[in-house]
Each structure stands twice: as C-alpha cells, then as structure tokens.
Symmetry: C2
Subunit: 320 residues, 2 copies
C-alpha cells in the first residue's frame, strides 16, 4: 500500500460516504448527488494555507475542525442545510499522527452537522487544505448579502474579537493568563459555525454574511451588495468578559477588524425583531442588535459619546 | 486596490458568472444553483501542485486550460453535462502576466464546454490550484466504474501515451524532433476532455473511467469496482504515429502506464458495438475496441504473439 492509499484510508469511512442526498460517495470519478426536489444548491469553497490561515503548531484535530468550520460558516451565512463536502489536500508527507487527528476533528464536526465527505483529492506538496461545501435551501430562501434595506436592524451572533485577541497573544503583542488564553484560543481554533441559526433565519433575515475577515470589512461587503449604509454603536458590540477587560483601543481593534470569528452578521426588518430573537432561541444562539441600516452609503461606528470613529478600519487583506 | 482584489478581478466576468443552472454566481458567501428538475449532480475535485502536476515553466494559458481540463475529464467519465466550477488558488504573488494567461486558457475551455465559474477563493501561498466541477445527468444515467460485466467489450477514446512521451523528453530520457516534441507536448499540456463522448455514451456504456494515471492503473480501478477482470491486446491500443515510431519498450511504457492522457476507457455490451461507434461519430471522437471483460479478476495484456506481458505495470503513485 503506497502512502497515497494510506492517506486516502484515513478519510474513507465504510458505509459513511453515502447518506442523505449523497447517492454515491467516494470511489468513482465523480460523486453522485440526488437533489431534494425543488430545492436550490448553495456552494462555497475555501483554501487554507499553513502559516497564513493556521499556525504550523496547531493541534491537527483542531485544524480538521477549523478547515470544515470555515466552510460550514459560508453555508450558515446563506441559511443552507449542509449536505456534502469535498476535501483536497496537499501534504508534505504522510504523517499518520497528523492525519489521525485531522480526520477526527473533521469528522466530529461533519457528523454534528450531518454533512457527508463525498469525495476529494490527495497529493504531495506544501501543506494546503481546500474544502468545497454544498448545502440546500428551499427555492428563493437563501440568505444573500444583497437584501438589506434602509431601516433594517443589524444583528450579530455570539461575541466578536476573541479570535483576534488570541492571534495578538501568539504574535507576542499581548499577554493573557493561561486560563484566558486557552479560552480565546478555543475561539480562534475551534470556531462554531452558526449553521442552525442560519437555517432559523430563513424567511426572517433580509441579508447575512459571516465574519471571517472582520466585522467592518465583512459588513462592508454586505452594505455594498445591498447598496446601503449602516450605523453601529461600539458599546452594543457583544464581547467576552476577557475582551471587555482589555484596554479600549484593543477592544476596538478586535471587535471591528478582528477576523476568524465566524459569527453571522445579518439584517432584518425592524418588525421582525421578535422573530429574530425567536430564531436565536430556537437555534440556541445568542443574537444582539448592533445597529441600523441607512440609505446613506458607508459604515459609521459611534462610540459611547455618540461620536463617529475615524473610518480607517480596514478588512484583513491576505496580500498586505 | 489590494493585490487580493486585483487577482479576483481577473476571474470576475461581469454578466458571465450566471447562466444555465447558476442562479447567483461570484460575490456572495455561496453560489446559488438551481438544479434541472429530476436530474442528479456529478461532482469532482482535483488539486494541482507546481512541480508535481505541472512544470514551473509551463505557459500560463496552457496551465489554465489543463487545470480545468483534468476536472472536466472526470465529468466526461461520468457522462455528465458540465454546469459550474469553483476555483481556489494559492499564489506566491500577484503576477499580472501569469494571471492574464491563466484566465484566458481557463475561460476558453470553460466557454467551449458551457461551464460557468460560479465561485472560488484566492490566497497567498505556494502555487496550488484546486478546481471543483459540478455537472448534471438524468437520474441513474451517470456512467460509473462499477457497471462492467463479463463479455463486455473494452474501448478507449483517441490515442494513448503521447503525454508520457513528452514527459520523458522533459526528463531528458528521450529526444524527439522539434515538430514531434511540439505535438506530444500539446497532448500533455492541452488535453481535450472527452465531454461530448461521455454524454453520447449515456445509456450505451456499462462503465467508464478517464485515463489520468495510466491505462492499466485506471482500468484496474474500473475492474476492481466492477469485480471483474479483462484481457487487452497491446497491438490494439491506439497510438499516434510519433509513438508508433518509437522502440517497442517505450511504446509499452507510454501506452500502458503513461498518465495525463485524459482519454476515456469504457466498457459496453458486445451487442452495443454499433451504438458505441455511433456515439464516437456523433461526438467527433475516435473510439477503439482494445479488449474484453472477463469474470476472472485481474488484467491480462497480450502481445502480438498472444503471450501475456508480465504484470509488473504499476499506476503512477504521487508519493513514490
């Protein structure tokens, strides 16, 4: 058995490569999927590169989780029901410990969300992980970035900024107690995609996006696609007690530009306020109203005194 | 505009990211696809790494073609109608010449096969190209590896071995005249996925696979999945006049184990012989009968004297 087969074996689960809409999984030139009649497909792909999207020292189990989590987060942002995913890996070598941990983390999250690994590719090369996810939603029910309207409320799930806080500790810019560092490191390494919330928001939210590159950048994409603006209140942005204990400048940095949170930012008409809260409860996800959509383009963030912050916040650019 | 946006711009074609089943293409968290009612989806993914799947000196235009071609070949092997694809790229830097050529080659082939770039991801990192392709076929019509039955005829499209011949020249193992080298280099760098033939073989062929890793290895996968064996005749394997002029040992090597041909190997009941020839004509693709399926497992290749070749042929292993 070559190394190639050995790797493939880690990701082949007899009797587990078919299920739901996956009629024929791993083992042929293509997977065969049988769509739910009348529903639409939502498809997204994300590539993770060592040293850029994850540290070389990351626990392989957490890496397996995160590689799928960031993709599930895109399905969540569209309100899709996860169905199938495809994993491509370039690996410098066949490291049994790495693959065992990676597969364990990957499949634990996949099983939790009922998504089936239906195919993939493995090759030798500098470490690179690419996942393509496919989900379904009833016709016209997908949450898009383009549906926000003036007067809509802006909401965010969970808390923001802990992943960035962890990154700053890794970078040596900050220090935290061991316990606090472990907590924010979990936020960075084990993000929980808001899949249940996304589905609960079908027919309720007017637009949505997930926070992968930072709140202002990602919300900016939503505003641009919707051709609207928004006003946020810094004090309304939900944050952990750990981040809340940091100096104000660090809080601002982490809340507004911190990436890797994988929370959902979404909008809904003001009259749907109670239905948004109900969707949060139904999916077991905290949701907070953080601002309002306005017809004037651009994003205005007001501090506790009602003053607008300077608009120098930038989204994280992978080539900067 | 950051380098990130610059790269994305090369792959955004205003008004060309939607079409057919692609209801909403690039620009949201997910693409939205509306399936053809009653049809099934065929999905495959392939990752290409510099130095392993292509040489660093390759013409970017040819690389763009090949990255999509190897994926379309998987759809062809399943008899799928191409619909949408997703491109992930890790790039060491934003090289405008490279991206212009790559996009030109990619989109020329995409347009020729009516497949739409519906999403993707771009990041910095060691050069890596991953494409996920999606196609459709009527329910139960997909060609799988598992349908070959004893008595079926074994067929192959086009000619085999030229891509391997080119590789051996690049490796310095062989030399060819400039004109011959250009011809076999085209076979290696600009493979033509047999998409039209695959669709014409729906309801005709009993099983199919594309030749990416070499005839004996890939046909071996088909035999294994179908739980059958086969006998081939070396003299029946179609080859170019350039390969036919080489010493016998080189012909054997290239025909039996040469990868990167992206021809289809398929099986069909003997009584469908005329329908296979008609499918070849209808799709403008040469097809040749090269052997027969047998109930005894394993692959037997007979030479011009009827003697079995020693079974030491091995599929290309990316980790050898």
């Amino acid at each position: 058995m070559g190394e190639f087969d050995l790797i493939a074996r880690h990701f082949t689960r007899p009797g587990r490569t078919e299920g739901g809409v996956v009629t024929q999984g791993i083992g042929d030139d293509c997977a065969v999927l049988t769509p739910t009649p009348g529903w639409q497909w939502l498809v997204s792909t994300d590539m993770l590169v060592e040293g850029r999207h994850f540290l070389s020292t990351v626990d392989p189990r957490r890496l397996g989780h995160k590689a799928l989590a960031v993709n599930l987060s895109d399905l969540a942002a569209c309100g899709a029901t996860p169905r199938a995913f495809f994993l491509s890996m370039a690996l410098p070598r066949a490291d049994d410990d790495f693959l065992t941990g990676f597969a364990a983390g990957l499949f634990a999250l996949a099983d939790a969300h009922g998504i089936v690994l239906a195919g993939g590719d493995t090759t030798a090369g500098p470490l690179n992980l690419n996942i393509t996810v496919m989900g379904e939603a009833p016709p016209g029910a997908a949450l898009l970035r383009s549906g926000a309207r003036p007067g809509d409320e802006v909401w965010v799930s969970g808390t923001l900024g802990d992943a960035r806080l962890a990154l700053e500790v890794f970078r040596g810019q900050l220090s935290l107690s061991g316990q606090d560092f472990d907590a924010v490191r979990v936020a960075m390494e084990l993000p929980q995609p808001r899949v249940a919330l996304g589905q609960a928001l079908r027919g309720v939210a007017s637009a949505a996006i997930d926070v992968s590159d930072g709140l202002t950048g990602d919300l900016g994409h939503l505003l641009q696609r919707s051709k609207v603006g928004a006003e946020l209140h810094l004090d309304d942005l939900p944050r952990s007690s750990i981040l809340a204990a940091m100096p104000q400048a660090i809080q601002q940095l982490c809340l507004l530009t911190g990436g890797d949170d994988y929370e959902l930012v979404f909008t809904a008409p003001a009259e749907a306020h109670a239905r948004v809260l109900a969707a949060g409860r139904a999916s077991g996800t905290p949701v907070h109203r953080i601002g309002r959509i306005q017809s004037e383009p651009g994003l205005r963030v007001r501090d506790g005194h009602g003053e607008c912050l300077p608009s120098t916040w930038q989204s994280f650019d992978h080539f900067k």
